[in-house]
Every structure is written in structure tokens, then in C-alpha cells.
């Protein structure tokens, strides 16, 4: 066993006065049966910040991300997202979901609906938009991801990169305050990752608060205000992108060195 408390360099972004963090983990724990996957996570993401979770396979990145929008229930600690305490008695999961968008590695588009219908289903059914409003909304978010000409296509007619951009547009159509991305380029051919990363980069530049799990180190370094290296269910090192040039722990040095 490594002496974790000694090795781990842990610097949560200090909350600026008055501004509440968009996401706040306090000693968050999560187990699947006997397996403890998150062993006390502390992390703050301020409004407008981009946090990149990196780390080896199985270190708990996806689990941490899924806890943020309540796809996984935490077993211990405190988790506050968009000002809502996820363990509060009066916590409303659906209200949180209206404010937090998530995009998965496998797109998960609705195959029986056109691109436009994919994008407008939730705004119409959840937010009650009418036909004209939802059409305008679809045009707006599809423009944002550069797919204005694909509104009437079906997902199967699109490339992986295009499908992933539709998935991003579908989330944006709910006008989220926070976006989560879980390895959204991992299923794509290398020549298609660029178009998706550009869209995410543009969102970041536009001030969207985001938490993204990624294996794209160069991208993490470039867009993230906060890089979080996770190891064995803990935040092992956290800091600016430059942290990757000068790792404080053996584990991160090895991880960066392995080129993963």
C-alpha cells in the first residue's frame, strides 16, 4: 500500500467569495456491492470552469461523472450540483436533469427519430415548447454543432462524429447550466475526433461549465481550467493543465509517461 495521504497532492479550487461552486464533492463515497469505487472525493467546479477528469481505466472517472447527474446514488459524503444537495430530503432528480446535460461515448441517439426530432423531443415534452419554438431551437443548436443541413436525417445516415455532435445538440437544447462528457471521442475514428473536440472547445470558450472525462491529454491541457487526476477512487492530483508537465506523484508521472 502506498501512503496515500502523503502522496496525494490535493488542491480543490478555492471558492471565490460569494460565488457558489456549480459542482461540489465533499468526501463523496460510492460502492457497488462490496467494491468501493469512490473513496472520498473532494472537488469543486466553479461556474464557467472546465474540469477534465483523467486517470487509468477503472479509477472511477465515469462513476464520479454519473454521480453528478444522479445516475449513480452516492453512499456517503455531500454532493451539491447547481445549488441542489443530492442527498437532501426534498431533492428533485428531474429538476436537476433539466439543468445538467450529459453526453456518452456511445451517443445513444433515438434511432427512430430524425435529428430534429431527437433534439426537440425533451424540449417539447418537458419544457412544453410548441412546434414553431422547437423548430427554431433545433435550428439554433444544430447550427452550434455545425449540422444545420442534417435536421431531417436519421442517426444511422450520419457518421460517428456527426452523431456525437447531434447528441451534444440534443443536450444543449435543454439549455443546461452544466454539461458532462464521458469519453465522447473514444468510439470515434481518429479523423473524426477533431470535429467533436472543436465543438466542445467552442462551448468552453462560450463560458459553459463542463466536467469531462477524457483520454485526450492535449485537449485536456488546452481547454481545462482544472485537470483532475483520479487514481484508485481518489483525487490523486488536481490543478491547472501545467500540472501535467510537472507531476508531483509517481502515479501521475507514470500515467503521463505512458502516453495514455
Amino acid at each position: 500500500m502506498t501512503v496515500i495521504s502523503m502522496n496525494s497532492v490535493h488542491t480543490p479550487a478555492a471558492p471565490q467569495d460569494g460565488v457558489q461552486p456549480m459542482v461540489s464533492f465533499r468526501d463523496v463515497r460510492k460502492s457497488f456491492g462490496a467494491l468501493e469505487v469512490l473513496k472520498g472525493i473532494d472537488l469543486d467546479v466553479m461556474p464557467g470552469q472546465v474540469a477534465a477528469l483523467i486517470g487509468r481505466s477503472g479509477s472511477g472517472k465515469s462513476t464520479a461523472l454519473r454521480c453528478i447527474n444522479g445516475l449513480e446514488k452516492i453512499n456517503g459524503g455531500e454532493l451539491t450540483v447547481c445549488g441542489r444537495n443530492l442527498r437532501a430530503r426534498d431533492f428533485e432528480l428531474r429538476e436537476l436533469r433539466k439543468e445538467v446535460g450529459i453526453v456518452f461515448q456511445s451517443y445513444n441517439l433515438f434511432p427512430h427519430l430524425t435529428v430534429e426530432q431527437n433534439v426537440t423531443l425533451a424540449p417539447r415534452k418537458v419544457n412544453g415548447l410548441d412546434a414553431a419554438e422547437s423548430r427554431a431551437l433545433a435550428a439554433e443548436v444544430l447550427e452550434q454543432v455545425g449540422l444545420s443541413d442534417k435536421a431531417s436525417s436519421y442517426p444511422e445516415q450520419l457518421s460517428g462524429g456527426q452523431q456525437q455532435r447531434v447528441a451534444i445538440a440534443r443536450s444543449l437544447a435543454m439549455r443546461p447550466k452544466l454539461m458532462l462528457f464521458d469519453e465522447v471521442t473514444s468510439a470515434l475514428d481518429p479523423e473524426l475526433t477533431g470535429e467533436v473536440l472543436r465543438v466542445i472547445g467552442k462551448l468552453a470558450a462560450g463560458g459553459m461549465t463542463m466536467v469531462l472525462v477524457t483520454h485526450e491529454m492535449a485537449f485536456a491541457r488546452q481547454v481545462a481550467d482544472l485537470v483532475v487526476y483520479m487514481h484508485q477512487g481518489r483525487v490523486w492530483e488536481a490543478g491547472k493543465g501545467t500540472m501535467l508537465d510537472d507531476p508531483q506523484t509517481v502515479e501521475l508521472r507514470q500515467f503521463v509517461g505512458s502516453g495514455l
Binding site: 447527474n69 445516475l71 428531474r94 429538476e95 436533469r97 433539466k98 446535460g101 450529459i102 456518452f104 456511445s106 445513444n108 441517439l109 433515438f110 434511432p111 427512430h112 423531443l121 425533451a122 415534452k125 418537458v126 444511422e156 440534443r170 443536450s171 435543454m174
Partner: protein, 216 residues
């Protein structure tokens, strides 16, 4: 023709008409009962899930002719005078609802879990997710096995002969008693059954191939 008169063939066609009527009643009834059964089978409620599972196992464990007898004689004991059509339709409804419920449960479960999850993350309610995301996809998947089962329904209506319902099989039996030409008559009956079922199986197969090609 072959020692059987045209009128007598007409008698067979009349029987075939009632076979089709009973099949449709069985299918419609089976749909009305089977859909809730399918939903109950996938529900998270313990009671609904167990009760529907018990229903399916119970019906599937009884031979169809016995179901016919039970409905026919069972209901008349309580003073209702049921005619054979009503009894046969109820029996076919019970029978097909159990199988259709099971088929459709499988179709709903065949839609990937990630589709439920995607809807959940967009703040859609359970019901909205089922209606707008899961059901349309499950329906597509359900067409081939449902049409395939329709063939089973058509063939199995012939068991209603045990309670004296006048269908294709029954009319052939009567005709045979009158003409003593079993080979000709039952061959004619077989051809009519085939003529009803073949287009259905053809359609089911073609639709299935189309689905596979789309998913390829």
C-alpha cells in the same frame, strides 16, 4: 370435382370464414389482454410482476383444448348459456394473451437500456420515455414474431372443434361424414389453412429480413 360438389366446397369455405373470424377475435382479445401482461411483466412492482408471470405460466401450462372445455362447460355451469363462438373466443384470448404478453415483453427488453438512460438524462418521465422512445422501437422489433404467432393462432383455432364450434376443421369433419372422401376433403381443408397462413409467414420473414438489413 374429385367426387365432391361445388356446394360442398362452398361449405368448407364457410367454415374457413369462421376460422378467420375466430382468429381475429383471438388476436384482438389477445392484444387487449396481452399488452397489459407484457407491461406488468417488465414492471418494477413486485406484485404485478409475480402475478403476470404466474398468469403466463398457468395458461401456457394447459393444453388449448382443455382451456376450450373449461371455458365452455365451466361458464355454463354458472347459468350462462355460452355459445361455442363466445367460449372459443374467450379461450383463444386467454391462450394468445399469455404468448403475446411474453413475446412483447421480450421486444420491450430488446430495446437497449441506454435508450431509457438517454431519456432519463433529458428529464423525461417514465411514461414519456416509454411512449416516445421505447414503444416505437419495440413495435418495430415486434412485427415479425407477432405476425408469426398469428399463424399459430389460425392453426390452433382448429381445437375449437372439441366444443363443436363450426370452423374449417369442423366443416371438413361434417363433410367427410357425408361423403366418405376423407383424403380429398382434408387435403382441401389443409390447402385452405395453408392459403391463410402462408402470406402471413411470408410477410413476417420479409419484414424480419428488412429489419436485419437496416440494422446491419
Amino acid at each position: 370435382m374429385l367426387g365432391v360438389s361445388l356446394d360442398q366446397y362452398g361449405f368448407l369455405v364457410q367454415g374457413a370464414f369462421w376460422t378467420v373470424v375466430l382468429s381475429l377475435m383471438g388476436f384482438v382479445g389477445g392484444t387487449i389482454v396481452g399488452l397489459p401482461v407484457a407491461l406488468a411483466r417488465i414492471s418494477r412492482g413486485w406484485f404485478l410482476c409475480r402475478a403476470s408471470s404466474l398468469y403466463v405460466q398457468f395458461v401456457q401450462g394447459i393444453p388449448l383444448p382443455v382451456i376450450m372445455f373449461v371455458v365452455y362447460f365451466g361458464v355454463s355451469i354458472y347459468g350462462f348459456d355460452v355459445n361455442a363462438l363466445v367460449a372459443a373466443a374467450i379461450a383463444m384470448t386467454l391462450y394468445s394473451s399469455a404468448y403475446l404478453g411474453e413475446i412483447w415483453k421480450g421486444c420491450i427488453q430488446a430495446v437497449p437500456k441506454t435508450q431509457w438512460e438517454a431519456g432519463e438524462c433529458l428529464a423525461l418521465t417514465n411514461l414519456q420515455r416509454f411512449i416516445y422512445i421505447i414503444l416505437p422501437q419495440a413495435l418495430r422489433i415486434a412485427v415479425p414474431p407477432t405476425v408469426g404467432f398469428l399463424v399459430q393462432i389460425v392453426k390452433n383455432t382448429s381445437y375449437s372443434v372439441v366444443i363443436g364450434f363450426f370452423d374449417l376443421t369442423y366443416s371438413a369433419k361434417i363433410l367427410n361424414n357425408a361423403t366418405f372422401k376423407p383424403f380429398v376433403i382434408f387435403t382441401a381443408a389443409a390447402l385452405i389453412y395453408f392459403a391463410i397462413c402462408f402470406p402471413l409467414s411470408r410477410y413476417a420473414r420479409r419484414f424480419e429480413l428488412r429489419l436485419h438489413r437496416r440494422n446491419a
